[in-house]
């Protein structure tokens, strides 16, 4: 009986966040019934898409008991890189005036590879020099912004926002499968495919199991014969590639890019993961949880804007939710001792 009570309390804590989500939706819907519409759902899913990909990258790192601050700046770098090579031929302010029309996958691949390289660098610094992930990725955060800004400032662009993107590229970010209100945006499909791939990595691969083991107890992982350094480098690399891909999608979705794209996205991603049940102490976290966390934050953003709440108040509410989520998480952890 007591066991059951404890179990149900644990259950309630585990899923408290979905309760919050439902309360929030109901409250906003009561305030303005127009909120419950297929268009709202579509908007929320579209806005969540790139954030989901970034949050999944952040989730990889959090589960190893690390943290990756470079995410947002990598998004910016990838957005600028891909956009700079995908402008229409007759645009007046081309980044590369004489660049021929490239096959669309080349700039996308270049941007993802850039993210991958930053990830490898992060992992290498953490694994090889035992620099705490917070500091290692703080360093690359600053460096990547510097590199991106130098690239962005090159002649003839000189720090002008990059626009005039090719329609075949922006179609990826704003187009839909089908027509009308029930069409499915490509970007949502892409995010779901990425989420599925990440789910497979988390649950069905050696790398995934090693990731949970490293986060759960790094010493035990070493004794079990896991090459912790090599696994960490691979994990940071995958995360970097995900940020890079998210940056490409951001450019495609918004039809442009500047060096400030992605600024602070890492914080949103980390917050979404934590709200979605990824433990800051490592070893715990799921893909559905991270997706849930992202959707919750988008609902808060979108919903509170929908009812016309002052954006500064929204920040306060967001902050409170993050702190509450971590407090609940830590409570779960402490109560076991």
């Amino acid at each position: 009986m007591e066991m059951n009570l404890k179990k149900s309390k644990e259950f309630a804590l585990q899923y408290a966040i979905y309760g919050v989500l439902i309360v929030l939706i109901v409250a906003i819907a009561v305030y303005n019934s127009n909120f419950l519409s297929i268009n709202t759902l579509r908007d929320i899913l579209m806005q969540s898409s790139t954030r989901v990909i970034i949050a999944l990258g952040a989730g990889f790192i959090l589960i190893t008991a690390g943290v990756d601050l470079s995410a947002g700046r990598v998004v910016g770098l990838a957005a600028v890189l891909s956009a700079s090579m995908l402008q229409v031929a007759d645009y007046s302010r081309r980044f590369f005036p004489d660049l021929p029309d490239l096959p669309i996958w080349i700039p996308i691949l270049v941007a993802i590879l850039a993210g991958l390289l930053v990830g490898i660098l992060n992992g290498w610094i953490v694994a090889k020099f035992s620099v705490p992930p917070f500091i290692a990725t703080l360093g690359t955060f600053v460096m990547v912004y510097g590199i991106n800004s130098i690239y962005f400032d090159m002649k003839p662009n000189e720090s002008q926002p990059i626009g005039g993107l090719r329609p075949d590229f922006t179609e990826i970010g704003s187009g839909s499968l089908g027509n009308g209100p029930y069409s499915i945006p490509y970007i949502v499909i892409i995010a779901l495919v990425v989420a599925f791939i990440v789910w497979v990595i988390f649950n069905k691969t050696k790398l995934g199991k090693n990731m949970y083991a490293i986060g759960g107890n790094v010493n035990a992982a070493t004794v079990s014969g896991i090459n912790v350094g090599r696994n960490l480098i691979m994990i940071y690399a995958i995360a970097g590639a995900l940020y890079g891909f998210a940056g490409v999608l951001e450019a495609a979705r918004t039809g442009g890019a500047t060096n400030n794209y992605g600024n602070m996205y890492e914080l949103d991603a980390i917050a979404a993961c934590v709200v979605g049940g990824v433990s800051t102490t490592g070893g715990i976290g799921t893909v559905p949880g991270s997706l849930g966390g992202v959707v919750i934050f988008t609902v808060i953003n979108y919903g509170l804007t929908f009812v016309g709440m002052n954006p500064y108040w929204q920040l306060i509410i967001k902050g409170l939710i993050i702190v509450a989520a971590v407090a609940v998480d830590i409570r779960k952890y402490i109560s076991k001792k």
Partner: protein
């Protein structure tokens, strides 16, 4: 074998026979843990040579040790053994993931579960299911899961560091039975123990260390508590 650390073990040479339990006795600080962790590739050595079945092998990491069918059950179960927030199944399978990988690099979870369940049953781990988190098990049951982890890798040599430390009497007895059974199957076991009745009762031979040096190897017949203590304090005072 000699450690790179001048205060740790020096000039330790011994041989391990197939199917025997070799006890390592000594006082705290005799560098016994350091020695077997070095054998497992966790610590660097200035001089270290291993010959397994007549072949010289190189062991520089736990992965190398695993490849040569060596297993290590560490002394600090909580610090270097269990993954508290992972399930019994994951705790068991973690050292043996290669065996569950299919040609597409995906893990066969069903096999993993079957192996974990069988192993838990054989070792008589008391738990609700293999999905239970290991941190909810008693110390003795956690230790059995860790033993199960290494048995899944089918080792020839088991290094056991204080295998019954901090667990209840019932589980202790069960672990003794398992160790003797493994020796009977032809596995070679090195067991560090600070408990006299345990080391005297379990070992075929007892190697005693004092301050990083090997002070004697006693046969079962002439090993007594006094003999062990004499060797364990040989370089002291």
């Amino acid at each position: 074998m000699t450690s790179i650390n001048p205060r740790s073990f020096k000039n330790v040479t011994f041989e391990l026979r197939k199917g025997e339990v070799l006890g390592i006795g000594g006082l705290v600080g005799a560098q016994r843990t350091e020695l077997i962790e070095a054998i497992f590739g966790l610590r660097a050595m200035a001089i270290g040579k291993f010959i397994i079945n007549g072949q010289e092998v190189k062991i520089a990491s736990p992965a190398d040790a695993k490849r040569h069918k060596i297993a290590l059950l560490t002394e600090e179960r909580r610090v270097t053994g269990i993954f508290p927030v992972l399930s019994v199944m994951e705790n068991m399978a973690i050292a043996n993931l290669d065996a569950y990988q299919n040609p597409y690099f995906l893990l066969d979870e069903r096999n993993m579960k079957v192996d974990a369940a069988n192993s838990a049953e054989k070792l008589r781990v008391k738990m609700p299911s293999v999905k239970e988190l290991i941190k909810n098990l008693s110390g003795g049951n956690q230790q059995k899961v860790l033993l199960g982890r290494w048995l899944l890798t089918d080792p020839d040599i088991l290094l056991l560091d204080e295998p019954t430390r901090g667990i209840d009497v019932g589980a202790k007895y069960e672990i003794y039975t398992i160790i003797l059974e493994l020796a009977k199957q032809g596995k070679s076991i090195i067991m560090i123990s600070s408990e006299m009745p345990e080391i005297l009762g379990m070992s075929d031979r007892i190697m005693v260390m004092c301050e990083g040096r090997l002070t004697g190897i006693l046969d079962k017949e002439n090993a007594t508590e006094q003999e062990i203590m004499r060797h364990a304090t040989l370089y002291m005072g």
